[in-house]
């Protein structure tokens, strides 16, 4: 391997430290949560730092969220959630695909749109009345 010839001791050290540090958030954020496989998961939709909707992942639904023309369409299917359509510039939220584990997120930075998956054992399903969101199919 030509690559291994160039690498020095410090390089291996840098790679090791960087990899270990990158898994640190997992340890910090996941240790407090006890995730059991049959627990209900809810998706918390936040737009511009305000919680606008909590969705239960048990029912297959499609929701459309609209803030001043910035649209994100969210699909729930088989206890998974994804952004199916958005009119943002980079489409990164659509590319992030299906999520189904507690702690996972889908972010759309241009619209300040965020989906957080949380443990929904004792959470109340609610919605923000003033925010423009519609159920596309029941």
């Amino acid at each position: 391997m030509q690559l291994l010839k160039y690498l020095k001791l410090g390089d291996y050290l840098i790679i090791a430290v960087v990899v270990i540090l990158s898994f640190l958030p997992f340890k910090l954020l996941k240790s407090g949560q006890t995730t059991s496989s049959d627990a209900t998961i809810i998706a918390v939709i936040r737009v511009n730092n305000k919680t606008v909707k909590k969705i239960n992942l048990d029912h297959d639904t499609i929701w459309r969220f609209n803030r001043n023309g910035e649209e994100n369409t969210v699909q729930v299917k088989n206890h998974q959630i994804r952004v199916i359509e958005a009119n943002c510039k980079d489409q990164l939220c659509v590319k992030q695909g299906w999520k189904d584990e507690v702690g996972q997120t889908i972010v759309c930075l241009p619209h300040k749109f965020l989906i957080e998956l949380r443990n929904g054992a004792n959470a109340k399903i609610s919605s923000h009345k003033k925010f423009d969101h519609t159920l596309v199919n029941p």
């Binding site: 690559l3 160039y6 690498l7 020095k8 001791l9 410090g10 390089d11 291996y12 050290l13 840098i14 790679i15 960087v18 990899v19 990158s22 898994f23 958030p25 997992f26 954020l29 936040r46 730092n49 990164l92 590319k95 992030q96 702690g103 996972q104 997120t105 972010v107 930075l109 241009p110 300040k112 965020l114 957080e116």
Partner: protein, 184 residues
Amino acid sequence: MIRTNKDLERYIFVGILCAQGIILGLIEQSFPPIFAFAPGAKLGFTNVITLLALVILPFKDCILLTFLRLTTTALISGGVSTFIYAATGAFLSLFLMKLALLAYPRLVSLIGVSILGGVSHNFGQLLVASLIAQSKYVMLYLPLLTFSGIVAGILVGFGVKYLLPYTQAITHVQKGLLKNRKGI
């Protein structure tokens, strides 16, 4: 008189590197995304220019170069929010790469330095994203970005390794620059 010529040469060199960085950044934006598994990850061609500048220019010129490049890129292709993301990542990686370069070439090679730069660039951007979204769970995305940062860092490191001998062509400029660097 000679002193002003040296300064002029240095600023022209900063200008050339800055222009190259902007062009590389624009070319990279038009590419299809290479890391399909990690949306948002980039190859980081501009890191080639930053690392090259760190090796051959004094540090204060590197700060000037990065600032100019970020401002111009924001004016051409982005808005204020892209500028904030890019600036946090760029300056974090700039300072960390400078720290790592203190051990170059005895302990680390250019590849290790550029890996550190690429990963810290991604980390800085993710940090701002998680601050703006006000959700610490965004940070769980870090391992994917770290992996793509390491791959990109290896490519960039090799790029700089092959580019560096060609900058020797302007030897008298570089000699002047190195002399200046000792004074700082």
